[in-house]
Structures are given as C-alpha cells and as structure tokens.
C-alpha cells in the first residue's frame, strides 16, 4: 500500500541511503580496518608500533590488512633500505576521509562504556 508521495520521493532517497551505507560497510568491513586507520592517523608509523597499539590484532591480520589497504591507496608504505630495513606506513588523503566516521564511533563507544558503568 504505497501512496504516491512514497513512491516518488521517500523510497528513492532511502534506496540511495542503504546503498551508500552498504558501500561504506563493504569498504571498512571487518574488525581491523578502522582501528588500523585510526592508529596510523594517530601517528603510528612502524609495523610493530601499529601492532602494539591495537589490542588483540595478530601479526598476520595486520600484515594482510596493510597490504590490501596499500593496494586500495588507503595508506602509503615506504621502505628505507638501510640495514636493517626500515618500513614506514603513512595515511593518505583518502585515509583521512574516514575521520568523521571513526570519530563518531569513538564517541559512541565511550558513551556506551559510561552507560554500562553507571548501570552496575
């Protein structure tokens, strides 16, 4: 039972919204992308440094995600061929576009924890 307004205006925007939402989820999906982006944006450059900054992540997952994010130009990887080799990860402009999402998610997480703490 859809009326005309419904058909002409609302659904179109809704459809676009879901699509956009699903696109975003696809790009930043998984447990690790956003924490890694956040870590690098916070100035962590070295592999082990990033690893230590994210509780629970394994070497393997970090390695995999970094590789894919480099391919997708989300981050930049630079090798300085000293010995021992020095590797640095940096955020790109593209990377910074996730800033607002991450910020909102951090805000939510902090509020959520406060709520839980208050309850018990």
């Amino acid at each position: 039972m859809k009326d005309i307004e419904n058909i002409l205006s609302t659904p179109r925007n809704q459809a676009e919204e879901v699509r956009a939402l699903q696109d975003t989820i696809y790009v930043i999906g998984g447990k690790w992308r956003l924490p890694i982006i956040n870590s690098i944006c916070n100035g962590n450059k070295r592999f082990r440094e990033i690893e230590r900054s994210i509780p629970g992540i394994t070497t393997r997952m970090l390695s995999r995600e970094l590789k894919e994010m480099e391919l997708n130009k989300i981050i930049k990887r630079t090798v300085y061929p000293n010995s021992p080799v020095l590797v640095e990860y940096e955020s790109t402009e593209y990377c910074t576009t996730f800033g607002d999402i991450i910020l909102e998610m951090i805000k939510w997480g902090i509020e959520h924890r406060k709520m839980i703490a208050k309850k018990y």
Copy 2:
C-alpha cells in the same frame, strides 16, 4: 625508544580511543546491523517491508539479527494478535544513538560513489 611525553600522555588517550572504537565495531559488526537499524529508523515496521528495503539480505539473516537486536534492546518487537498476526518493529532510544554513525557512513558512501563516477 619512548620518551616521557609519549608514556605519560598520548598513549593513554590512544588506548581509550582504540578500546572505544573496538567496542563499537563489536556491537554493530557484520553486514546487516546498521542497514537494519537504518531501515527501522526510517519508518519501516513490518518484517517483509524491512526485508525489501535492504538489498541482498535473506529472510534468515534478517530474522536472526532482529532477534538478537531485540534481546539487546536495540529494537522493540510488538505482536498484534489479530488474524492474521501482525508484527511491528520499532526503534528504541538506544537505537537512535547510532544515528550519527550511520549518517557519517551514508555521507561517506555517497561521496565515495561520486568520486568513482568522476574517475571513469
């Protein structure tokens, strides 16, 4: 090689941020939570209505997620025992706290699509 500032100030906030971020990811993880929340917040109340509003979702996934989200008080489920039975899903206050996150993700998705479109 950590200096004193590093140990005393920055890492503490960073640690809280990652934790908050990871908490949030845990709660809204997966492909379907946010699209479902968004759909319900947009006024979709009936099961099939929600199902149709989210491209790609299956009956089973929707059913599972709705059940769990009801347990977690993210949504409210009401049964009107007419015949045939009528079921309605509604957002709760808790549900609306995800609003800003969803908004930012929609914004990102739309921008992203524009970028891609421009490129090719």
